[in-house]
């Protein structure tokens, strides 16, 4: 921990930093590449839609069935006249999927199937879905997505500024595209549960982005009153300053989801838990990436186009050139963000000795 803790300290003081903003072109490139791949995957392979989108029936038998998968498939085919997909789940129960039957008919199928499998029909869990149900959920989800995006852009534009709103939106679309793309490429099944997970990413991806933006806003409050840093540099420092938090947030968010995925995938084999957690897992990872590598650099890009910021950059550059020619110590023309003031005054060179002190402590601890 203390390694991360001291990493946090050094990131905070700016001793080490990764130039996220400066190297943004690389990351934009990476993202564009991923996005294109995702879109290609979607176009070529399409999504593997679950039975909820075609209409049909899913039957789940009690645990420890002696019937074999092949046998159950035959039973299901005989009962329905359709091809059936049978899975054996981790707990020994069978999951029988029959596509393309309507709800009225699936009732009969259930009775026949129960008889074939030597079960009481009431013991056979059934999920009978009309052909438009999945579509309905998907449509509602799209509707929700659109409303949410509009609201969130308005909110961010008010709470922060429109550039941040735009950048957050781009990051959001980026996350969703990547997640659906991965679904298309890997061939995971898309069920209503997947859509739930996808929708949750909305909130989460933005949540992460918003925290970075919040720090950015704070640090750039009085940006025009100083000539030490350009907007991009401060933006980069915001990312680095919140990096530890971003990592922690993502880890803490991913851990429970990983628990869900493990249980949902390993224990139950299939179902809502699995679907939700899988899309969450993929989406959360994409969200953490985009808020650091895409959203903030994008804000910096947009911001640097502003005349005031262009002027600032010019002033900063001029000042630096002058300082370099004088070869004198950097005396601030004004404080940058008030919060950063002490950090700048602080002795950067001492970090080595402090690092050693920490090392000793760590040694003593174990």
């Amino acid at each position: 921990m203390s390694k991360l803790g001291s990493l946090g300290a050094r990131l905070h003081r700016g001793e080490i930093s990764y130039d996220f903003v400066g190297k943004r072109k690389i990351w934009y490139g990476v993202s564009i590449l991923i996005t294109i791949t995702a879109i290609l995957g979607l176009a070529v392979r399409g999504l593997n839609m679950s039975i909820d989108f075609q209409g049909g029936a899913v039957f789940t038998t009690p645990n420890h069935m002696s019937t074999s998968v092949a046998q159950a498939e035959t039973y299901a085919r005989d009962a329905s006249g359709h091809q059936a997909v049978v899975q054996k789940l981790g707990n020994g129960s069978l999951r029988i999927q029959i596509a393309g039957v309507d709800t009225a008919k699936s009732d009969q199928i259930k009775q026949t199937l129960a008889k074939d499998l030597n079960l009481n029909p009431e013991k056979l869990a059934a999920d009978l879905v009309g052909p438009s149900w999945g579509q309905e959920i998907a449509n509602k989800a799209w509707e929700g997505l659109a409303i949410f995006m509009v609201l969130v852009v308005i909110y961010l534009a008010i709470a922060f500024e429109w550039r941040m709103a735009v950048a957050a939106l781009v990051a959001l679309i980026h996350d969703i595209t990547i997640t659906t793309g991965i679904y298309a490429l890997v061939g995971f099944e898309v069920s209503p549960g997947t859509i739930i997970g996808l929708l949750t990413i909305l909130g989460y991806s933005l949540y992460d982005t918003v925290v970075v933006f919040d720090s950015l806003k704070e640090q750039t409050k009085d940006i025009t009153k100083q000539t030490r840093f350009t907007y991009s540099e401060i933006a980069n420092r915001s990312i680095n300053g919140t990096l530890v938090r971003s990592i922690n947030t993502t880890v803490v968010a991913l851990l429970p989801v990983a628990g869900l995925l493990f249980i949902g995938g390993g224990f139950l084999g299939a179902g809502d838990l699995n679907d939700i957690s899988l899309s969450l897992f993929v989406g959360l990872a994409a969200g953490a990436y985009s808020s650091i590598f895409i959203a903030t650099p994008l804000v910096a890009d947009l911001k640097e186009r502003e005349p005031a910021m262009k002027a600032l950059t010019k002033r900063v550059m001029a000042k630096r050139a002058q300082a370099a020619s004088e070869d004198g110590p950097v005396t601030a023309g004004g404080d940058d963000a008030e919060d950063a003031a002490p950090a700048v005054v602080g002795p950067r060179n001492q970090s080595v000795s402090r690092g050693r002190g920490r090392g000793r402590q760590a040694g003593k601890r174990r």
Binding site: S132, P192, L254, L268, G355
Partner: protein, 610 residues
């Protein structure tokens, strides 16, 4: 509080005010009363928990997918001319509720979801198949002959003028003789079987009523030719029971109204309530003579020729026409109120027009002192049965109790694993601070659990699998608020502040970040909850609830707790297990040195603690 008690502590305090944040007043006052906030939230927890135990709902109500049962999702279809609006949906929900609960399941629930979906949840142990058939059926409308009726309840004004008339529609020459119609019926027992058996019982009831009302001679001969011996055998006791129930029925009571006529089979006589004008009437009704499905069409028209104003015209299909001719033929010979037939919708009499002559030809009109609205709603009911809309089954999910239990088990296990992982991570990373985080998570968990339990009976909230998922995901969101705050505190310490000012100085910024990000999260949950249907909604609800609770817990618990802990030496001196050790965090000494005098006990105690 600290500033007041110890003179030494005032300096960092001032310092903080000078250097830092804009919202001095608020944060200073918040800081000065950490005990009050803690007391507040503890009282809230105790009160809520007490409420939970008092109400007797100590566990959250489980959804169908966790408890087992059948869940049916129906979608309204907009092809009937009646609009899908809130009023119509509510009516449909009411009616379905009556039907499902009429099956003898008291815990079935029917709710609208979104704008055009209705979810019917039927707990296990019910005949799900029958329920499924009952729910979506449009027409549960019967025409039953009235055997007796009287005003019921104090509010009822005895004005029989309210009952409308049935006349034959434009087509004249409808006056077929009553005897003909009854012989017709006898000759075709197949189609008219409900009618035939009906009449048997009808007679029995009528006999029982003889004292009060005039006998109906026309019913007697037909009754004799009844092919069903069973009802007449048991008829005696049944009739007596029914008669007693009729006498006891008080239609001014909503409870009685709801119960009256439940479980009535079309072939049996029944009792029912009806609201005619402003008062309630109770009815003793014969077996169904015509089924609502046999009405082909009904519409409200304004009678431009006659003076009858708004009226309802209905057209029967061929079997309906025949049956209607029979029943009106019989009724026309009777005296009031036995010349009336009740139009019974799901156990409630919506209209009881009287018949003056037999109506053949399958066309009839009901006229009375209708307003346009009355006429239209009656016409709607006649055409579409009880439901103002027709519905399509979207999904039917039957979960066995075993599978439900397993899913619940898996959900809880996943939650436990997730929570354990988060706790381990927090302990490793934040050391002593993780105690604060864990205490806050526990408070959050208790609040979530208690509120979920209370929301079960209050708004019908049921914990389903996606909702469990939402709660698990929310662990991350909740923990993140602490992370934001802790990282802020650590940043302050890195800048050389001692803990107490660091805690206070970090708060306004952390607070803003938490509020902004939680708002976004809540916005997502709210939009999802309003827009979507089914499983997504349950998920969104828990997510929204936990987000709100997160804000409550951070404000009223985590922050005050942090303020209090900052006074403990263990944390204030930055013990290396506290997670706030300035050295391991890489804090700067200069500022800290000036703070030293602030905590007099600070220096000397340090070695002892280590």
């Amino acid at each position: 509080m600290a500033a007041e008690r110890r003179p030494g502590a005032e300096r960092p305090e001032r310092e903080y005010e000078k250097v830092a944040a804009p919202k001095k007043g608020r944060s200073a006052s918040a800081q000065s009363k950490p005990g009050r906030s803690l007391a507040l939230i503890l009282i809230a927890i105790v009160a809520l928990t007490g409420g939970m135990f008092v109400s007797g709902h100590t566990t959250p109500r489980l959804g169908i997918d966790l408890a087992g049962g059948t869940s049916i999702t129906l979608k309204a279809k907009a092809d009937q001319g009646s609009a899908i609006n809130k009023a119509n949906m509510d009516t449909a929900v009411d009616i379905m509720n009556r039907r499902v609960n009429g099956l003898g399941v008291s815990e079935a629930e029917v709710q609208t979801q979104g704008t055009d979906n209705i979810i019917v949840n039927i707990p296990r142990g019910t005949n799900s198949k029958e329920a499924q058939q009952q729910v979506g059926t449009t027409a549960k409308l019967y025409f039953r002959p009235v055997l007796a009726s009287e005003p019921s309840g104090a509010a009822a004004s005895p004005s029989p003028s309210g009952s409308p008339t049935v006349g034959s529609s434009p087509k004249p020459g409808s006056s077929s003789s009553p005897s003909a119609s009854s012989s017709q019926k006898a000759s075709s027992p197949g189609t008219a079987s409900p009618t035939a058996s009906a009449t048997t019982q009808g007679r029995a009831v009528t006999d029982a009523l003889k004292a009060g009302s005039s006998p109906s001679p026309s019913a007697t001969p037909t009754g004799g030719s009844s092919p069903k011996p069973t009802p007449s055998a048991s008829g005696g006791t049944d009739t007596a029971k029914l008669q007693a129930a009729f006498t006891a029925l008080d239609c001014s009571k909503p409870d009685d109204r709801a119960k009256a006529g439940n479980n009535a089979k079309p072939g049996d006589p029944t009792i029912a309530c009806g609201k005619i004008g402003k008062g309630y009437y109770k009815y003793l009704l014969g077996p169904a003579a015509v089924d609502g499905t046999e009405v082909k069409k009904a519409q409200a028209v304004f009678d431009t020729q006659g003076a009858s104003g708004w009226q309802v015209q209905m057209t029967f299909n061929s079997t309906g026409a025949k049956k209607f001719a029979d029943i009106t033929g019989q009724l026309a010979k009777n005296q009031a109120p036995q010349n009336e037939f009740g139009i019974v919708l799901d156990g409630e009499v919506v209209s009881s027009p009287y018949v003056s002559l037999a109506i053949t030809g399958g066309q009839a009109e009901i006229s009375g002192s209708f307003t346009q609205q009355d006429a239209q709603s009656l016409a709607n009911m006649l055409s579409y049965g009880a439901l103002p809309l027709s519905f399509q089954e979207q999904s039917v999910t039957t979960v066995t109790a075993a599978l439900g239990g397993e899913q619940l088990h898996a959900g809880l296990l996943a939650g436990a694993i997730g929570l354990a992982l988060v706790v381990i991570y927090l302990v490793v990373y934040y050391r002593g601070l993780s105690l604060v985080a864990m205490a806050s998570l526990v408070v959050s968990a208790i609040l979530t659990y208690v509120i979920m339990s209370l929301l079960g009976p209050a708004i019908g909230f049921a914990l389903n699998l996606p909702a469990v998922c939402g709660a698990i995901v929310a662990i991350g969101i909740t923990a993140d608020s602490f992370i934001v705050y802790f990282e802020r505190i650590r940043d302050e310490i890195r800048e050389g502040r001692s803990l107490r000012p660091a805690v206070e100085r970090a708060w306004p910024r952390a607070r803003r970040t938490v509020l902004v990000s939680d708002f976004v999260s809540f916005l997502a949950a709210a939009v999802l909850f309003i827009v979507t249907v089914g499983k997504v909604q349950g998920f969104a609800f828990t997510l929204g609830l936990t987000t709100v609770l997160d804000v409550v817990v951070v404000f009223l618990f985590t922050k005050p707790l942090m303020t209090l802990l900052a006074r403990r030496k263990f944390f204030a001196n930055g013990h290396k297990w506290s997670g706030l050790d300035p050295k391991s965090l890489g804090g700067k000494p200069p500022l800290r040195r000036t703070r030293r005098p602030a905590g007099p006990a600070a220096g000397p105690v340090d070695p002892k603690e280590a």
